[in-house]
C-alpha cells in the first residue's frame, strides 16, 4: 500500500473516486463550503443573542436539529440538495414518480387552471439542477412548491406589484421573511433580475437557500451578514443579488429602501409580537408593499391573534382571489372553509397608522 492513501478507500473503484473529486470541485459544492463557513460564523455570532430571547421556538428547535447533518454534507448530498429539502417541505422525489398518473393529471389540471389566471406569463418551472424533481408536464418539472410559487407570482401580478419589479429600470430591493430552501427567490429573481433579494431566516436554513441560489445563479453577487461590519451590510446594495440576514440580526441592519416585503406561510406560525415586529419594521423602512400568503392563524397556534388584522394596522390589505382551493390542495378537493384557507394579501403602506 502506498504511503498516504486513506485505508478506508483502498480498493474502491477509481471511477467512483474520480466522480467524488469532480463533485468536490463543482461550483455547487464550493458555494456550499462558503455558505457553511458563513453559517457557522453566524451561529457563533448569534449564540449570545439567542440566549437573550432570540432562540427559536421549541417547534423550530426540533426541526433544525433534524438537518444538523447539513453542516457536514458530502458533495453527494449537495449534488442532490433538493432531495434533502424535504426536511423543510416534506416533499420527496418519490411523490412525483411518473407511474402516479392520476396525481400527475391533477397537477396538470391545476397548472392549466393557474395558467388561465396568468395574463402576463409569470410561470417558472422547477429547475432541474441539484436534484430538482416533479412531474414532467410538457417537458417542465412541476411540484407542489412550483405551483405555490406560481400562485404567489400571479397574485403579485394581479395586485399590480410584480409588473413594477419586472420592468424596473432602477434597482429594487425585496425582503423575504423566511425563504425556506430558496425556491421562491429563484423564481422571483428569474423573472425580475433587477432586484436585490434580501432573505431573513434561521442561519441553518441558509445551508439550503444560499447554496441553492448560488448554484442557480453562479454569477450572483452574494453577501452574508457579518462579512462586513453590520452598518455596511447594505453598502453598495445595488451591486448585490442576494443578501442573507439571520433572523436575530434583522433589526441590526437598515437598508436604504425596501420596495416589497414577502412572507409565505410563516407569519401564521409566529406569535402576535413577532408578526407585528416584522410588519412594523417593513413599515418603518418605508416599504410600499407587503405581500402575505398565510392563513389568519394556524389552528394549533394559540399565540397569534390574526395575521390580517396585524397587517391592517400598517398596510391596507387587498386580498387577491385565486383558485377556490388553497395551494396545498388539488382542484378536486373540497373548497376551503370560509376564513380557513390561505389568503393572498397584497398590502399597501398606510400613511397614518
Amino acid at each position: 500500500m502506498a504511503a498516504g492513501v486513506d485505508p478506508s478507500i483502498e480498493g474502491v473503484d477509481s471511477a467512483w473516486l474520480e466522480r467524488l473529486d469532480t463533485l468536490r470541485e463543482s461550483g455547487a459544492y464550493r458555494s456550499y463550503l462558503r455558505v457553511r463557513r458563513e453559517v457557522l460564523s453566524l451561529l457563533s455570532l448569534g449564540q449570545n443573542r439567542r440566549m437573550t430571547g432570540h432562540a427559536p421556538s421549541d417547534y423550530w428547535s426540533g426541526e433544525l436539529s433534524r438537518f444538523e447533518y447539513m453542516l457536514d454534507a458530502s458533495p453527494l448530498v449537495i449534488e442532490q440538495l433538493r432531495h434533502h429539502t424535504h426536511n423543510l417541505t416534506g416533499l420527496l422525489p418519490q411523490h412525483y414518480r411518473e407511474s402516479l398518473e392520476s396525481k400527475k393529471t391533477q397537477f396538470a389540471e391545476k397548472l392549466a387552471a393557474l395558467r388561465k389566471l396568468d395574463e402576463t406569463g409569470v410561470w417558472v418551472p422547477e429547475a432541474r439542477q441539484l436534484g430538482g424533481f416533479g412531474f414532467d408536464i410538457d417537458g417542465e418539472l412541476v411540484n407542489i412548491d412550483t405551483l405555490k410559487f406560481y400562485e404567489v407570482l400571479i397574485a403579485l401580478e394581479q395586485g399590480a406589484v410584480l409588473g413594477e419589479m419586472r420592468e424596473a429600470t432602477d434597482r429594487k430591493l425585496v425582503w423575504e421573511i423566511g425563504a425556506g430552501w430558496g425556491g421562491f427567490p429563484y423564481q422571483f429573481k428569474t423573472l425580475c433580475p433587477n432586484v436585490t433579494y434580501v432573505i431573513t431566516d434561521f442561519p441553518e436554513l441558509f445551508l439550503f437557500s444560499a447554496t441553492y441560489l448560488m448554484a442557480a445563479f453562479p454569477e450572483a453577487r452574494v453577501r452574508f451578514y457579518g462579512e462586513v461590519p453590520a452598518e455596511e451590510t447594505f453598502m453598495g446594495w445595488q451591486e448585490l443579488d442576494f443578501v442573507f440576514i439571520p433572523d436575530m440580526f434583522h433589526a441590526a441592519v437598515r437598508p436604504e429602501r425596501v420596495d416589497l416585503t414577502i412572507n409565505m406561510v410563516s407569519f401564521q406560525e409566529m406569535t402576535t409580537q413577532q408578526v407585528e415586529t416584522y410588519v412594523r419594521r417593513a413599515h418603518a423602512l418605508d416599504c410600499q408593499y407587503l405581500y402575505s400568503l398565510n392563513r389568519d392563524r394556524s389552528h394549533h397556534n394559540r399565540e397569534l391573534s390574526n395575521v390580517r388584522s396585524i397587517l391592517s394596522q400598517y398596510y391596507w390589505p387587498r386580498e387577491v382571489p385565486m383558485l377556490p382551493v388553497s395551494y396545498t390542495k388539488m382542484l378536486d378537493a373540497n373548497p376551503d372553509m370560509p376564513g380557513r384557507g390561505y389568503k393572498h394579501v397584497v398590502g399597501w403602506r398606510r400613511v397614518r397608522t
Binding site: 399590480a160 391596507w316 387577491v320 397614518r352
Partner: protein, 738 residues
C-alpha cells in the same frame, strides 16, 4: 404660487369609512406634482374630519364644503371648477371618488401617456373591482380603447357602443378638453354624454396595467336613484324623458344649434351627430329593454316559462346542429386550401346573387337619372368621353393603386413577383405594367428586387436594380412540382392571388438576402386589373393607362454570338392549343424550317429543359440548322433565348410566348397558329398594337395561309443566300456544328 400640472377633484358625500384609504392611496402616488381638491356636498358622517386630518399632514389637499346640497351633478361640476380655480394652469384633471383606491403608479403612468400622445384626451388603466371588505372580485377587467382611431365619427360610434362610462369617468383627461366637452351636463347618465363629447375631442387610451381598484357595492344603478341624487331641488320635466333622448337633444343643441365646437364641428355635422346618437343609443336601448321585458314577462307569467325554455332549447338545438354541420364541414374540407376555395366559391356565388338583385334596380335608377334633360344633354356625353366602359374595373383600379401605394411606402425593399406563369404574359403585360407603376409611384429602382426564373431578369434591367432567380433557389424538378400544384389549386397558371408557393419564394428571397421586412408587389395586382380588358369588360384605355410599352433593355449577346452565324433566323416552334400537335402542323413546321434554312442559317431556340407546359418541336437538325441546347441551363435559358432573338434577323415560331419578344428587341417576328378559336382576341390585338408602337412587325398568321407565308419568305432579302455558306462562316466558332 400654484404650479401643479395635475389637479384632482374629489366630490365627497358620506363615505367617511373608505375615504381614508382613498386619500392615502392618492397621497402615495409616485407622481407627486398634483393637488387634491376635495368638495364635500354636505356629508353627514365624519367625512370632514377625515379630510381635515389629512390636510394637516399634506398641504396638497384642500377641503371645501358646499354651503347647501348641490346634488351629484352640481358637486362634480363644482369639484372641476374649484380644482381649476386652485390650479388654473393645470394641464390634466381627474375626478376621484371618495371610496376607491389608486395604485401608487396610477398618476405617473397616465401622465406619461398624456405627455407622450398629444392625440389622446383621456387615459385610464384597467381596473379590478374590490368588495366593501377590500377583497378583489374575480370579474375580469373591462377593456376599451380608441387609440389610433383618427376618424371622429368612428370614435363616436365605438364609444357609444363599447364604453364603460362608470369606469372611464375617473380617467385622467386634458382639462381644456373636459371643459370644452361641457364638464357634467344636467342630464341623466351625464358621464356617458361627457364621454361621447370627449370622443369628439380626441382618442381614449387604456393602459394595460391594473392601476385602479374600484369599490363595488353591487348593481345599484337606477334612473330613479339618479333623479333623486342629481336634482335635490326638484326634478325637471326633461329628467323623465328617456336619457338617450336627452343626450341627443343636448348634442343637437350644443353642437348643431349653438355650434359650441365650431369650427372643428360645424352646425350640420353637429346636428348629424345628434341624430346619429339618437339612432345608435335608441337601438342599443331598445335591445336592452327587450331583454328586460323578456325577463319581466318570465318573472310575472310563470306559465310561459316552460314554453320559453322549450323555445330556447329548440333554438339551441338549431345552433348545435349548425355547429355540428360546421364541424362536419370542417372535417370534409380539412385542408385550409379546400376551405378557402369553397369559401371563395360561396362568396362569389353570393356576390353574383346580390348583383342579380341590385343591378337591375340600380340600372333602372340610372336609366331614370339619364332620362333627365341635363343628364342627357351634358353629363352622359361627358361620361362617354371619359370612357364609361371602364366603370366595371373602377374598384379594381382603386384597389390596385392602393396596393402599389402601400408597397411603395417606407424604405423597405420591394419584392416584385415572383413571376410563376407564362412568358407571354410576363413580356406583354407584366413588364409594361411595372414600367408604368415605377413611373407613376416614383419607386426608385434600388428598392426593387425582381423575382422571376430562367434569367428573365434581363428584361427588367431598366426597372429594378436587383433580381433573384428562382432556379438559383430550387431545382427545376422542385419548381415544376410546386408550380403545378399551384396551378391545380388555383385552376390555372394565372397568379390571381398570392399562393403559398409565392409566399414561400418571397421568404426564400428574404432569407437569402437577410431581409427582415419587405413589401411585395405581386403579379395578382396586374392580373386582377387587366382581366377586365382580356375578358372584354374594360376598354383598351384600361391597358393604355396602366402600361408603358417601350423596347426592352439591350441584352448581352457576346457569348451567344461566338457560337452563332453572323446572321440567322431564330425559330421556336412548340405545340399548344392554338397550334396543336397534328401531322399537318408537324409537316408544315418541317417545311418552314427547311425552307428558311435554304435562305439563311436557322437557330433553334429549343431549351431541352422541361420548364413549362409547352412541348418543343424537334426537327431533324441538318445543314444550316443550329441548336443551342448546350447553352441552355435552367437559370439562364430565357436570357440566352433573348440574346439569340435580339441578334436575329427575324423570329419565326409558334404564336405566343417568345414571339412577343421580337418587337421588344426591334426584330420582325412571324407567329403561327392553326386554331383561331383558341386565341384570345385581346392578346392578338395587343400584339398588333405593340408591333405598331415599337415599329417592328409582329405578324400573326394562320397556317392555312401558306401562300401568304411563301410570298413572305420570297420577299426576304437575306444574306448569305444559302444556309451552307452561313454554316461555313459559323463553323470555327461553334462547339457543336450541325
Amino acid at each position: 404660487m400654484s404650479t401643479a400640472r395635475v389637479v384632482i377633484g374629489a366630490p365627497l358625500y358620506n363615505h367617511a369609512d373608505e375615504l381614508g384609504e382613498a386619500v392615502e392611496s392618492l397621497l402615495l402616488q409616485t407622481h407627486q406634482d398634483f393637488r387634491l381638491v376635495c368638495v364635500d356636498d354636505q356629508s353627514t358622517d365624519g367625512t370632514e374630519e377625515v379630510v381635515r386630518d389629512y390636510s394637516v399632514l399634506d398641504s396638497r389637499i384642500t377641503y371645501t364644503k358646499n354651503p347647501r346640497r348641490l346634488g351629484m351633478i352640481g358637486n362634480w361640476r363644482r369639484a372641476f371648477e374649484l380644482a381649476l380655480e386652485a390650479e388654473p394652469d393645470a394641464e390634466y384633471f381627474a375626478w376621484a371618488s371618495d371610496h376607491d383606491v389608486w395604485h401608487p403608479r396610477w398618476l405617473e403612468t397616465l401622465v406619461r401617456v398624456l405627455d407622450e400622445r398629444p392625440e389622446v384626451v383621456l387615459a385610464y388603466p384597467r381596473n379590478w373591482r374590490i368588495g366593501p371588505d377590500g377583497l378583489m372580485t374575480d370579474k375580469r377587467p373591462w377593456e376599451f380603447d380608441t387609440t389610433g382611431v383618427e376618424n371622429r365619427r368612428d370614435r363616436f360610434r365605438r364609444t357609444m357602443r363599447h364604453m364603460s362610462a362608470g369606469n372611464m369617468i375617473y380617467a385622467l383627461g386634458r382639462a381644456d378638453a373636459i371643459r370644452r366637452a361641457g364638464i357634467f351636463r344636467h342630464v341623466l347618465v351625464p358621464d356617458r354624454l361627457l364621454l361621447m363629447e370627449l370622443s369628439l375631442e380626441g382618442q381614449f387610451h387604456q393602459v394595460s396595467e391594473m392601476l385602479w381598484f374600484r369599490r363595488w357595492y353591487g348593481p345599484i344603478f337606477s334612473l330613479g336613484r339618479q333623479r333623486r341624487a342629481f336634482f335635490p331641488d326638484g326634478r325637471p320635466l326633461y329628467a323623465y324623458l328617456p336619457w338617450w333622448i336627452g343626450h341627443a337633444a343636448s348634442l343637437t343643441w350644443t353642437l348643431g344649434v349653438r355650434a359650441e365646437r365650431s369650427p372643428e364641428i360645424g352646425r350640420v355635422t353637429g346636428a348629424r351627430l345628434g341624430a346619429r346618437y339618437l339612432w345608435l343609443a335608441g337601438f342599443l336601448h331598445a335591445r336592452q329593454q327587450l331583454k328586460q321585458v323578456r325577463i319581466d314577462i318570465l318573472e310575472r307569467a310563470v306559465f310561459l316559462k316552460p314554453l320559453y325554455i322549450r323555445a330556447r332549447g329548440t333554438w339551441r338545438g338549431i345552433e348545435r346542429r349548425r355547429a355540428d354541420t360546421a364541424k362536419r364541414w370542417r372535417r370534409s374540407f380539412g385542408s385550409s386550401e379546400k376551405r378557402r376555395k369553397l369559401l371563395q366559391r360561396v362568396r362569389d356565388g353570393a356576390k353574383k346573387r346580390v348583383k342579380r338583385i341590385v343591378f337591375p334596380v340600380g340600372r333602372a335608377m340610372l336609366q331614370g337619372i339619364r332620362a333627365l334633360p341635363l343628364m342627357r344633354s351634358v353629363v352622359v356625353p361627358w361620361l362617354a368621353r371619359e370612357e364609361i366602359d371602364q366603370v366595371p374595373s373602377g374598384p379594381e383600379v382603386f384597389a390596385m393603386r392602393k396596393t402599389i401605394k402601400l408597397a411603395a411606402q417606407g424604405d423597405a425593399p420591394i419584392v416584385v413577383g415572383p413571376w410563376l406563369s407564362e412568358v407571354g404574359f410576363e413580356v406583354l403585360y407584366w413588364i409594361p405594367f411595372l414600367a408604368w407603376a415605377v413611373e407613376e409611384f416614383e419607386i426608385p429602382p434600388e428598392r426593387l428586387i425582381v423575382v422571376s426564373r430562367g434569367g428573365a431578369h434581363v428584361w427588367y434591367r431598366d426597372i429594378a436594380a436587383h433580381h433573384a432567380d428562382i432556379f438559383d433557389m430550387m431545382t427545376v424538378k422542385q419548381f415544376r412540382k410546386r408550380n403545378e400544384a399551384r396551378w391545380a389549386d388555383g385552376g390555372n397558371q394565372k397568379q390571381m392571388a398570392p399562393a403559398a408557393f409565392d409566399e414561400y419564394i418571397v421568404k426564400l428571397v428574404q432569407e437569402r438576402r437577410g431581409l427582415e421586412d419587405v413589401n411585395v408587389l405581386h403579379p395578382s395586382v396586374m392580373y386582377r386589373l387587366l382581366r377586365y380588358y382580356w375578358y372584354e369588360k374594360g376598354a383598351i384605355s384600361l391597358l393604355n393607362k396602366h402600361t408603358v410599352y417601350r423596347p426592352l433593355p439591350a441584352v448581352e449577346t457576346e457569348e451567344v454570338a461566338r457560337v452563332l452565324p453572323s446572321e440567322y433566323v431564330a425559330v421556336r416552334f412548340y405545340f399548344r392549343p392554338s397550334f396543336p400537335d397534328t401531322p399537318e402542323n408537324r409537316a408544315l413546321v418541317g417545311r418552314v424550317i427547311r425552307s428558311l434554312a435554304r435562305r439563311a442559317p436557322v437557330v433553334l431556340l429549343n431549351t431541352g429543359l422541361s420548364l413549362d407546359d409547352h412541348e418543343d418541336f424537334h426537327p431533324d437538325t441538318g445543314m444550316g440548322i443550329h441548336s443551342i441546347e448546350h447553352l441552355m441551363t435552367p437559370s439562364r435559358n430565357l436570357a440566352v433565348q433573348s440574346a439569340v432573338i435580339a441578334g436575329a434577323r427575324m423570329f419565326v415560331g409558334t404564336y405566343g410566348g417568345l414571339s412577343y419578344l421580337g418587337p421588344f428587341y426591334g426584330v420582325p417576328a412571324i407567329a403561327l397558329f392553326s386554331n383561331e378559336a383558341e386565341l384570345v382576341a385581346t392578346h392578338v390585338d395587343v400584339s398588333r398594337r405593340l408591333s405598331r408602337r415599337l415599329e417592328a412587325p409582329l405578324v400573326t398568321l394562320d397556317v392555312r395561309e401558306v401562300a401568304v407565308l411563301q410570298m413572305l419568305f420570297d420577299t426576304l432579302d437575306l444574306t448569305p443566300a444559302t444556309g451552307a455558306e452561313a454554316v461555313d462562316s459559323a463553323q470555327p466558332k461553334t462547339e457543336h456544328p450541325s
